[in-house]
Symmetry: C2
Subunit: 120 residues, 2 copies
Amino acid sequence: MTIHYKEKTFFTGKDLALSVIGGRWKIAIIWCLLQQSPLRLSEIQRKLPEVNQRMLIRQLRELEEDKIITRSVYPVVPPKVEYQLSEIGLLLEPVVTSICDWGDNFAEFLEEDADKIAVN
Amino acid sequence: MTIHYKEKTFFTGKDLALSVIGGRWKIAIIWCLLQQSPLRLSEIQRKLPEVNQRMLIRQLRELEEDKIITRSVYPVVPPKVEYQLSEIGLLLEPVVTSICDWGDNFAEFLEEDADKIAVN
DNA sequence: TACAATACTGACATATTTGTCACTATATGG
DNA sequence: CCATATAGTGACAAATATGTCAGTATTGTA
């Protein structure tokens, strides 16, 4: 398999996937949109207060370019823009879920580790 | 949930997970070790020729610090060091698998997209 | 006229990650 | 004595990612 995408060459689906979902906040954004959809920019901001707006918009733009999400603009005032996962974006659910699950597991593991040290 | 780890605070397992497996080559390394284990440094290098040695070692060190992999040194000459996934590391299998699967899917999607344009 | 709400963009600074180059150690075989 | 193989390390450069600040547009309402 060889895919040329955005001036780069990928030899595996894995590498291609990572190039697309690897951004600092992308999994978080996708996670939000899996829970509720569509969402307006201001709503995503409220759900992810750690991300500054500029960064959030950049990540959204990249996801849109990569066709992971769609962006719908409503010509009203004040402006209204809605984001939602595309068909291929929705298929990221197992990725997000498995990451969340493993992370919870790892958190437990760290706590047990800390307990062991505390007991000694 | 609040976890303090490596001078940082995490509020979700997802964020914790991403901080640990987010490195440029970490998923690739874990993928290698899921396929075959244990592996020596030189073997991983052969499987991942795009990664330079310095970088590979750094990512291995971090994975070791995070207890995702174990490192066994054999006091022989020339030196022999073996890496393998820990128990918690092995649990990353669903993460790696789902990323690979989605990536393959996305690659197909991109090809179909390209075809559509070619047909028009 | 000024302000509010929403969804941005541009220029730039800073931080973090990644890559490169040169270097070390060791015992064996030639 | 020299080269070889393996598994590194240190110092630094470069690239990339992320964050900050200020500014734009729209139009209904006070």
